[in-house]
């Protein structure tokens, strides 16, 4: 009986998320009045997935904590909706829905993989939602954000330096810093500060001198990350900076030169550092170094391949054989047990988020906020891309988390923070539009 439900659920869950994903994109082409119904429909599908997945989880484990988790998930999603849709009357609903959906998928997979981490994760998420509930209003009302340029730089660089000096070495890279019982991954939070820094520097002046100063300070951020061997984050910061610089200056040459330099640095890094070389070797032919440099990536591909299009079903696969499965490689676990089609839907939901971010950025008139929105969009987009690309062997793996889904307090806090800032900017855009109309 349990087996029957697990097997049938493979298909029903794919169906649920597929319809949800379809709604994300069908909303894009419709006028605002018609969208409301779609978004309510999306919420129904989120709750359906919650029910279906937790039923399977409970039947397979008989663990009473699953039921508590399911209730907690439902409450969390409900309150999030309440905050964003009622308190902030005109929040961007698609972004809120997607945030809930991605969080939910993360909870489901973590319950499956490690109950203890799942419980911690939902506590982190609740805390993050609470902390960031005030962010939209702060972004919308306070005016000082564009003037803090050097303060951002100082905080950011100091934070990263702390990690580089005092950080714990995990998998060869320094990512974390422990303060008492709490382990923080500062680069996750500092990337938001970094975006604010670049936006504040380039929002008014974009002459050569300003560009050089901004580039030099940004280079310090990136170089500290490279020194900590946090290559994934270094890449995220670097690409984010390049795109922000390009949009602010509207100058192709910067973008072009930047990518040339980035490419050059990558080649130099390949020749200089053995840890870069091992990643590239593992990427080129993981099966040739299957128990060595290619261990992680080949285990990930075993899982994705064996799961196939429709997955093995929850508890029917072997995702526990994938290293760091709850953080960097959670996508492989999802693809194995819930199917490649389900995993593709996740990718499309992330794309939908990125498109909404860009859309909001385009609607804002004020350069500072426009650049912030753009920077956060690129930041999120690149992070999702390099983690998915790394897990699937599309690009060499660099070890970053999948935002909102991977286990980790810092990751979840920073991503929810990004989503909250975007909400604030969205409200700001709406407010600007109203002002425009009044003038007319």
């Amino acid at each position: 009986m349990i087996h029957i439900i697990t097997t049938v659920s493979r298909f029903t869950m794919i169906f649920i998320i597929a319809v949800y994903t379809y709604y994300c994109f069908s909303a894009l082409g419709r006028p605002a009045e018609e969208r409301g119904g779609l978004f309510k429909g999306q919420m129904v599908y989120i709750y359906l997935l919650l029910l279906n997945a937790n039923a399977v989880l409970f039947l397979n484990t008989n663990d009473i904590r699953i039921i508590i988790m399911a209730v907690a998930e439902a409450v969390l999603i409900y309150i999030t909706n309440l905050i964003y849709k009622k308190l902030y009357s005109n929040a961007n609903e698609i972004v809120v829905n997607n945030m809930c959906m991605l969080l939910l998928v993360g909870f489901i997979m973590l319950c499956r993989l490690d109950m203890g981490q799942a419980i911690k994760q939902i506590v982190y998420a609740a805390a993050a939602l609470l902390i960031t509930a005030f962010v939209p209003i702060m972004i919308e009302r306070w005016k000082m954000w564009s003037r803090l340029s050097y303060l951002y730089a100082a905080i950011g660089i100091l934070g990263l330096l702390c990690v580089a000096v005092f950080g714990k070495v995990v998998y060869g890279a320094k990512l974390n810093i422990s303060i008492g019982p709490v382990t923080l991954q500062p680069s996750e939070i500092i990337k938001i500060i970094f975006v604010f820094f670049v936006a504040s520097m380039l929002c008014i002046y974009t002459d050569l001198k300003q560009v050089i100063i901004t580039s030099a300070i940004s280079a310090v951020f990136v170089l500290i990350l490279v020194a900590s061997k946090d290559l994934g984050s270094a890449m995220i910061y670097f690409v984010t900076f390049l795109f922000m610089l390009y949009v602010a200056t509207r100058n192709w040459t910067y973008l072009f030169a930047g990518f040339l330099m980035g490419g050059g640095a990558a080649i130099a890094g390949y020749h200089l550092f053995s840890h870069v070389r091992t990643r590239v070797i593992a990427w080129q032919d993981p099966l040739a170094v299957v128990n060595d440099a290619g261990y992680q990536i080949s285990r990930s591909l075993f899982a994705i391949g064996s799961g196939g299009w429709f997955g093995s079903g929850l508890y029917e696969g072997m995702p526990e054989k994938i290293p760091v499965v709850t953080t960097d490689f959670i996508f492989a676990a999802i693809s194995e047990e819930m199917g490649a089609v389900f995993a593709l839907c996740i990718i499309f939901i992330c794309i939908s988020c990125i498109l909404m971010f860009f859309n909001i950025a385009m609607q804002i008139h004020e350069r500072f906020y426009k650049l912030v929105a753009l920077g956060l969009a690129v930041c999120y987009g690149i992070q999702v891309f390099i983690t998915l690309g790394g897990v699937t062997k599309f690009i060499p793996s660099t070890g970053v988390t999948l935002p909102l889904i991977s286990y980790g307090g810092s990751s979840i806090l920073s991503t929810i923070f990004i989503f909250a800032v975007i909400q604030g900017l969205y409200k700001r855009a709406g407010w600007e539009a109203e002002a425009d109309n009044e003038i007319k």
Partner: protein, 484 residues
């Protein structure tokens, strides 16, 4: 908000500026979308086409779980003879091998680790393409699905001839189709009974077992003996060949204190190169070895994939080795030129040499998994022949063909002279110990009849002259395959 004020004052200018700034936004958005599209296409391609190599990998722990849900499929020859089958009584699966010892090495076994086709096709045998409704029904009621059947390229007639012809000798046979690379027969002796492998495991793997489990066809490294003269002939063709030069053979030849004898000390007299090849004249080839440019023998051997991993779907294939370098003395050069010395080749390797010559210089990658069908015999997948590339030029291949034909028409291979097909080959008698009376019997060659081709490589350990043992066996295989 300075910019804001300006914008409000001059809405037209602002709008223009905004539109063009949004062009940069479009660039960023589209590049991001392009990245993701590439990722999605790649991901689908991986899941759809590339993932098999990963799923089927021995380090993937999930394969053992697949066997809990699937009844292992059958293994068959290309002419539909069942070689391996699982009897399932609703609880336990028993693997039976109807043809037993005849296919022991090539089909292999699926317990105590795996080998042969059971290993290389493990994933296909455990995957089910049964009718989807049946599979869903089985899934729901936790019944086992019927796994897919694997069809090998082997020809039961050729295999039977090879196996029976080997008799009680140790040795190996590889037969393949030069134009496709399909393995037609693969025999290794001594053999074992695959259905009782677990009971006999101890004795089969003990040190006194004469390596029964070793597939000599792909892993046995033997001195190639005179069959290596095909490669020496290629090197001679490439540098130094002079059709006007003749070679005088008095039965032995000494250089730098080392003497080479012809087989049975026979003096071949004055002969052309072609005749020397046909007679397998050792003194001539020793002399040629000494006049060849340094490394030209090595280059020729490596062109024929010595010292290289053999491209094939068969696992655990040993590469053949040619180690003679520039510093070699006369004795070693002379020995190496006639296939003694330190050179070692697998029977598969020598089959590839014959196959390449037969196929005008092109090597087709040898393979033995032909296709996959579901439990109802409906084709699921067919593996296509893969061309590895050109190893020698067409001219070179034609000349080697001419030499190998002469072996059959008037040399050591006349046993293959028949009106029913046209055969080419080279015999070999390889010494492997200090006892000159003990020698491996080799034959490497190919034949065609009405466009149907077969290349064979035969070695019979310690049997003696190539013409008296390996060649008659090769003939039986060729006869059985080309007579159909």
């Amino acid at each position: 908000m300075r910019s804001n004020k300006e914008e409000i004052k001059t809405p037209k200018v602002r709008r223009k500026k905004r539109r063009s700034l949004n062009r940069e936004f479009a660039v960023v958005t589209y590049s991001m979308i392009a990245l993701y599209l590439a990722l999605i296409v790649y991901f689908c391609y991986f899941v759809g086409f590339q993932s098999e190599a990963f799923i089927n990998h021995s380090s993937n722990p999930r394969l053992s779980v697949m066997s809990e849900h699937t009844i292992r499929g059958d293994i068959k020859t290309s002419d539909n003879v069942v070689l391996a089958h699982s009897d399932y009584d609703g609880k336990n699966e028993t693997r039976v091998y109807p043809k037993g010892r005849e296919y022991a090495h090539v089909v292999g076994f699926s317990v105590n680790g795996m080998s042969g086709a059971e290993k290389d096709a493990n994933f296909y045998l455990l995957r089910s393409h049964a009718f989807i409704i049946d599979r869903l029904k089985n899934d729901l009621f936790e019944k086992k699905n019927e796994g897919d059947n694997v069809i090998l390229t082997l020809d039961s007639k050729a295999q039977e001839a090879a196996y029976n012809g080997m008799g009680s000798y140790k040795g190996a046979v590889v037969a393949m189709d030069p134009e496709t690379g399909k393995i037609l027969a693969m025999v290794s002796k001594p053999d074992f009974d695959p259905s009782t492998i677990s009971q006999q495991w101890e004795s089969l793997t003990s040190s006194s077992s004469e390596s029964i489990l070793l597939n000599r066809a792909t892993q046995g490294l033997y001195p190639p003996g005179s069959t290596f003269k095909i490669i020496t002939a290629l090197a001679y063709d490439r540098n130094g060949r002079n059709d006007n030069v003749t070679f005088d053979c008095s039965g032995d030849f000494t250089s730098d204190g080392f003497t080479i004898h012809c087989y049975g000390n026979k003096a071949h007299g004055n002969q052309s190169f072609e005749t020397a090849f046909a007679n397998s004249c050792n003194t001539t080839f020793a002399k040629i070895g000494l006049v060849l440019k340094k490394n030209s023998l090595k280059n020729a051997a490596e062109d024929f994939l010595f010292n290289t991993d053999i491209p094939t779907d068969i696992s655990n294939v040993k590469s053949s080795s040619f180690t003679m370098d520039k510093s070699a003395n006369d004795a070693l050069i002379m020995q190496t030129s006639i296939g003694q010395g330190n050179t070692l080749a697998t029977p598969l390797q020598m089959a590839l040499v014959a196959s390449t010559v037969a196929n005008n210089g092109y090597l087709m990658e040898p393979y033995y998994i032909d296709s996959i069908e579901n439990n109802n015999g409906i084709n699921v997948k067919t593996f296509k022949p893969v061309e590895y590339g050109r190893l020698i030029s067409k001219k070179e291949a034609n000349r080697l063909k001419k030499y190998m034909r002469k072996v059959v028409t008037e040399g050591t291979g006349t046993g293959l002279l028949t009106s029913s097909y046209k055969a080419y080959g080279k015999t070999g008698t390889a010494e492997f110990s200090s006892n000159k009376n003990e020698a491996h019997s080799w034959f490497v060659g190919f034949a065609n009849k009405n466009g149907k081709k077969i290349a064979v490589s035969v070695i019979m350990e310690g049997a003696g002259a190539g013409s008296s043992h390996a060649l008659p066996l090769a003939k039986k295989i060729i006869d059985s395959y080309l007579s159909k």
